[in-house]
């Protein structure tokens, strides 16, 4: 059994191959073929596509990809996504002037208006009439910077 003179890969395989085992008998043959005949007399089973795990996940992934693609397409053609972004209401020059007079009580109305208008001139606020346009403003070296003064 050990087969020392044989190829090591050979003797074990041959031992397994040559071992005794069950042999098909006539009784088994008759029983099997009877069972086959009965099964053949039944309607044939329909071929059913089985869902393997991989196929199921592939289907889920496909649905997600298609859904994402459709949502992107919808977003590109729907006006809802193209609405202008709402902007905060900007204060008028008058509001700014009033605020300046509140925080700087030394300013008179004309100075506040000029200062507010000068600030607004750099933005897109609409120009508004200034009540006392002839009022003399302090000299530039007095510390005030009237950059953007439109006079």
């Amino acid at each position: 059994m050990k087969g020392k003179g044989l190829d090591q890969d050979d003797w074990a395989e041959r031992a397994v191959h040559q071992r005794a085992g069950p042999e098909p008998t006539d009784n088994l043959r008759n029983r099997v073929l009877d069972g086959v005949r009965r099964a053949l007399a039944e309607p044939a089973a329909r071929v059913v596509w089985g869902w393997s795990g991989a196929a199921r996940w592939a289907a889920v992934a496909a649905v997600l990809i298609v859904g994402l693609a459709l949502s992107q397409m919808a977003a590109s053609v729907t006006p809802f996504f193209d609405r202008p972004v709402a902007v905060a209401p900007s204060p008028s020059v008058r509001d700014v002037a009033q605020l300046m007079r509140q925080v700087s009580p030394g300013l008179n109305a004309d100075e506040a208006d000029r200062l507010a208008l000068a600030s607004a001139a750099r933005g897109d606020l609409p120009a508004i009439p200034i009540a006392n346009a002839d009022t003399k403003l302090p000299a530039p070296d007095a510390g005030l910077n009237f950059q953007g003064d439109v006079r």
Binding site: M1, A12, V16, A20, P22, L28, V32, L40
Partner: protein
Amino acid sequence: MELAPEPNVDVKLLAAGEPVAYAALYARLARRLLRVAGAMLGDAGEAEDAVHDVFVALARGRERLAYVEDLDAYVFASLRHAIAARADRRRIERRHWERLASIPVSAAQSADPADQGEVSAALAALPPEQREIVVMKIDGGLTFAQIAQALSISPNTAASRYRYAMEKLRKLLEDRT
């Protein structure tokens, strides 16, 4: 043992439900299937039942046979399912493999007590997944590609599992002698 030449089996006739084709398939594979089932179930009667189940299942699902590429691998895969189904019916599904590992091989399977004591017992001592590969290769006469198809594993896995199994079997046989 001198074996009769295995008859060719026409898959189209099987799919068409020709009894003659099933008789030819039985003549071709019955002995191989029976030996594999015997080694896996450890009981000659259970092995015969499993072979019977395989042929009946093939006849019932005969339309599928038209799509089968490797008939031998397909039939042995069916045998594997039949063996598992038998285990299920005996309410030992959860411990199927453990049970297979511990089943002593029936003495009725061997005419040579000495051979029975050595080879079959050593075979029964293998882990079931290794024993399955060995008997499918040696008793079933399948290639590694066919075994891989029947077990749903890669051919490389089948080959390496077989190599480990044979190494273990060789050692078991050497220890027993």
